[in-house]
């Protein structure tokens, strides 16, 4: 299909979509008039039922824990898929080696200001990431957010130094193991509750005192495992992309020079 035909098809189908969409909006309650009752019930019950003050984390890791398990495995498989696609491939037969086309460009050195501020931020970021993971049941936060904050630590080290500094603070094997433990641990928590005679992913750990860090039972445990998985998964992604950019392409450039 050529370009004009595609755009024409887009305009026709886009207009059709808009008509049905606006028609459909008439049946929705207006913006700002949430009708409930599901969200309201959860809002009024989480503190009593789960001793968690953050209803969002309670929904994520308890009330809809099974749903989040599925989301987690989407994350896991897409990280593994990217990792698989970016590995060094042996069959050069069919494949045109990609080389860095701007291999001779001058990379400006990192400025001292970036270096100093970046290095000063490394420890606070680790602490803040762990804090966000561990306080997910009390205040905004949880495994997903805290994991991403934790994973930004190696990235800052890359910003301050270079690829070799990044390579020193990360480990592909360890990250993959941590990712697997995080993803598998979530499923195992569910199985433990089955073994104890409850339904899958029932909160079986004592709930503790509302407002304490160590409270709300499995919500904290699952949040912790999710944090490990998200942080390790994003580090695995960064390692794969950096290797692709800095190691394999450089190899290709060297081969290309010899031929």
């Amino acid at each position: 299909m050529n370009r004009q035909a595609r755009i024409a098809l887009f305009i026709v189908s886009g207009l059709g979509f808009l008509c049905f969409y606006i028609w459909g909006l008439h049946g929705l309650p207006g913006f700002g008039h949430y009708p409930g009752p599901y969200g309201d019930i959860i809002n009024s019950l989480t503190v009593y039922q789960r001793h968690a003050t953050d209803a969002i984390t309670a929904v994520n890791f308890d009330y809809r824990g099974f749903d989040t398990l599925g989301e987690e495995f989407i994350l896991f498989t897409s990280v593994m898929g990217a990792n698989l696609l970016l590995r060094k491939q042996k069959d050069d037969r069919e494949q045109k080696r990609v080389v860095d086309r701007a291999d001779d460009r001058v990379v400006p050195p990192t400025s001292d200001a970036v270096r100093v501020i970046g290095l000063a931020l490394v420890l606070p970021i680790v602490v803040f990431g762990i804090y966000t993971i561990m306080h997910g049941q009390l205040t905004p936060g949880g495994g997903f957010q805290g994991g991403v904050i934790l994973a930004s630590m190696p990235l800052i080290i890359y910003l301050c130094g270079d690829y070799h500094a990044f390579e020193k603070v990360t480990s592909h094997v360890l990250s993959e193991i941590a990712e697997a433990i995080g993803a598998g641990g979530y499923a195992v928590v569910g199985l433990v509750s089955v073994a104890l005679g409850y339904q899958y992913l029932t909160n079986f750990i004592p709930l503790g005192e509302t407002g304490d860090v160590l409270s709300s039972g499995t919500i904290l445990l699952i949040s912790f495992l999710t944090g490990i998985e998200v942080a390790a998964g994003i580090v695995v992604l960064m390692i794969s992309f950096f290797r692709q950019a800095f190691v394999y392409r450089k190899d290709g450039a060297e081969d290309g020079g010899k031929r």
């Binding site: 370009r3 595609r6 755009i7 098809l9 887009f10 886009g14 979509f17 808009l18 969409y21 606006i22 909006l25 929705l28 207006g30 913006f31 700002g32 008039h33 949430y34 599901y38 969200g39 959860i42 809002n43 009024s44 989480t46 503190v47 009593y48 003050t53 953050d54 209803a55 969002i56 984390t57 929904v59 994520n60 809809r64 989040t68 989301e71 989407i74 994350l75 897409s78 990280v79 898929g81 990217a82 696609l85 970016l86 069919e94 494949q95 045109k96 080696r97 990609v98 009390l138 205040t139 905004p140 997903f144 407002g211 998200v230 998964g233 994003i234 992604l237 794969s240 992309f241 692709q244």
Partner: protein, 122 residues
């Protein structure tokens, strides 16, 4: 007239969501570069965030976090927030997978222009 304006405001976030969806889709349809196409897909995805968070919003209500407000205070729907927050993180990794596919497309087919990628090979 006033009623029409009220009706418009009532639907504004949902209309913005539709606009984001269509703009992103237009970008995908006319894309000349796979990385651009992936970014457009992210814009399409963003429209769902706006739509779903718009459904859960309530005028004058606070965030559903009862650490410093008493239980029973009007709060927005926590379910929509929970869905969107997992989705944002998952979306980032799915985007990484798509970018890896784009790198593979360049290695295998020598092009990142979707128009040039007509020949499928096993």
């Amino acid at each position: 007239m006033n009623q029409l304006a009220g009706e418009f405001m009532r639907m504004l976030p949902f209309l913005v969501a539709a606009w984001l969806f269509l703009v992103g889709l237009y970008g995908i349809v006319t894309s000349r570069h796979l990385v651009h196409l992936i970014m457009c897909l992210v814009v399409v995805q963003t429209s769902t965030y706006l739509l779903i968070l718009g459904v859960g919003y309530r005028v004058g209500a606070s965030a559903p976090i009862f650490a410093d407000i008493p239980v029973g205070t009007p709060a927005v729907d926590p379910v929509t927030h929970a869905l969107m927050l997992t989705d944002i993180v998952v979306e980032a990794t799915v985007m990484a997978l798509l970018l890896a596919l784009a790198i593979q497309a360049e290695e295998r087919a020598g092009s990142v222009d979707p128009e040039q990628l007509r020949i499928m090979r096993g």
